[in-house]
């Protein structure tokens, strides 16, 4: 029977939750890297026992950890080996250095400010090569490793896509979303807080903004600006790589032409503000969001935690509430904290800033909390294992 492994990053460590295919009885392992902010963990689709993790701290900076045994043991790629006499240490698995001239972006006061590396928000392992991973950084940039995380190199063309106009929002200028096109290895989509969505069609050498149709009347002086939109998350179904769904700061958006043009599909949602969005594993038109009251009040409307599902690719939404708290609930669900498994029926998972990880083994119809008292959840990923 298949197994499911849920990788949970929290403000104070990582947790790994495992269950068999029934998804009823869960084992919890962790905290791994106790006390560190674990922004994101994700396994390689090629080798699921290979998991990469972003370990970060305001004091001690960034580390990348890798497990090759499904999360039982970890080490920084390249290891912490003592160099032989006369040998220079090669450990560079946490060395994220911007390419060439560092360059500047727009600062809060309107002046230009140099890029400064702060942390890795998101790790996206290649769909075909277990040694290749993309990493999304704050300040926004895309890095790539082709040696299993031992060394990282920036793809600087991205910052050439009007980077001087990007301006950090209150949450930081993080590159938080990386979507790889399974039908075209040279096409990658990324999204950056308060800068927008971008696409490359040449493997990351050149990039261009793909924000046409996004409207930000409350956040930008020009609501149709080419860059500056606060994209929170983009999701895609593998079977339809040209169809993208987006949770923007406000608005749920959809593109049917690889981001060339977006249209709003918020429909009957009680609020179209939120962070995560994801697509059902087997139904490309079934999508999930978690409405949040507003950008001023980061909690669910009316104290009711509701996942909303659309089976029509947007516009028509139904609340999913069974098993979720329907009173006095004031948690948030962050952008990287929702994922689906590929079992049938599809499992849907999300984590909250209150430390709960909820799971549904029936397409979202009903929910149970796998754990209730973790530190604030930053990210949730799911692996479906044979």
């Amino acid at each position: 029977m298949s197994k499911v492994r849920v990788l949970v990053g929290t403000k104070k460590g990582a947790f790994i939750l495992t269950a068999d295919g029934t998804r009823k009885n869960w084992e919890v392992s962790g905290p791994h890297f106790a006390g560190w902010e674990m922004y994101h963990l994700k396994g390689s689709p090629v080798d699921p026992n290979r998991i990469f993790a972003s370990q970060t701290s305001g004091w001690f900076g960034q580390l990348i950890q890798r497990s090759d045994d499904g999360g039982k043991t970890w080490e920084p790629p390249g290891g912490d080996k003592t160099p032989a006499p006369g040998e220079f240490p090669t450990g560079a698995s946490n060395k994220f250095v911007y390419e060439g001239e560092v360059g500047t972006h727009k600062w809060y006061d309107g002046t230009q400010h140099p890029w400064e590396f702060k942390r890795i928000w998101h790790l996206e392992p290649s769909l075909t090569d277990p040694d290749t991973v993309y990493a999304g950084a704050e300040d926004a940039a895309l890095f790539k490793t082709t040696d299993g995380g031992k060394s990282w190199k920036e793809l600087p063309g991205l910052r050439g896509a009007k980077g001087h106009l990007w301006q950090p929002g209150a949450g930081g200028m993080g590159l938080h979303t990386i979507v790889l096109d399974p039908s075209d290895p040279k096409r990658i989509y990324i999204a950056i807080s308060a800068a927008g969505a971008f696409r490359t069609d040449d493997g990351g050498i050149t990039w261009r903004p793909i924000n046409r149709g996004l409207k930000s009347p409350y956040e930008l002086p020009d609501p149709d600006a080419e860059v500056g939109h606060c994209v929170h998350r983009i999701a895609m179904h593998r079977a339809r790589p040209g169809v993208l769904y987006m949770q923007k700061h406000w608005d749920i958006m959809r593109s049917d032409n690889a981001g060339e043009l977006w249209s709003e599909v918020s429909g009957n949602l009680p609020s179209d503000f939120g962070f995560p969005i994801d697509v059902h594993a087997h139904e490309p038109e079934t999508i999930y969001v978690v409405p949040i009251k507003s950008d001023s009040e980061h909690f669910p409307p009316d104290g009711k935690l509701r996942v909303y599902r659309s089976r029509t690719g947007g516009n028509e939404w139904e609340p999913l509430t069974r098993g979720l708290p329907q009173q006095d609930c004031y948690v948030n669900v962050l952008r990287d904290a929702m994922a689906v498994d590929s079992m049938d029926p599809c499992g849907v998972y999300f984590g909250t800033t209150g430390g709960q990880v909820y799971a549904s083994a029936d397409n979202g119809d009903s929910w149970t909390a796998i754990v209730r008292d973790l530190p604030a959840v930053l990210s949730v990923e799911v692996q479906t294992l044979p």
Partner: protein, 98 residues
Amino acid sequence: MIRLVLPYHLRKLVGCDGELQLEVGGPLTLGAVLDALEARHPVLRGTVRDHGTLRRRPFIRFFACKEDLSNEPVETLLPEAVVNGIEPLLIVGAMAGG
């Protein structure tokens, strides 16, 4: 041989419970100690000072003999008591405040 005390999270990274003993060649400056520490434990590169600039990270402090050496130039010679192994050099995570 000098004595070095790391903060909890960095001790965990290098798998060390107590003080580190570190052999440092040449003049015993702050910079030489950090070079030797990173050579001995490459996992610490980037955690005490930034890659590239080699600037001390903002919330790292260097204390020795009840003095704050954090803002001293890296060429500064360490106090005699640290050089002689009587006192440790402390690498400290700064107070969080709040």
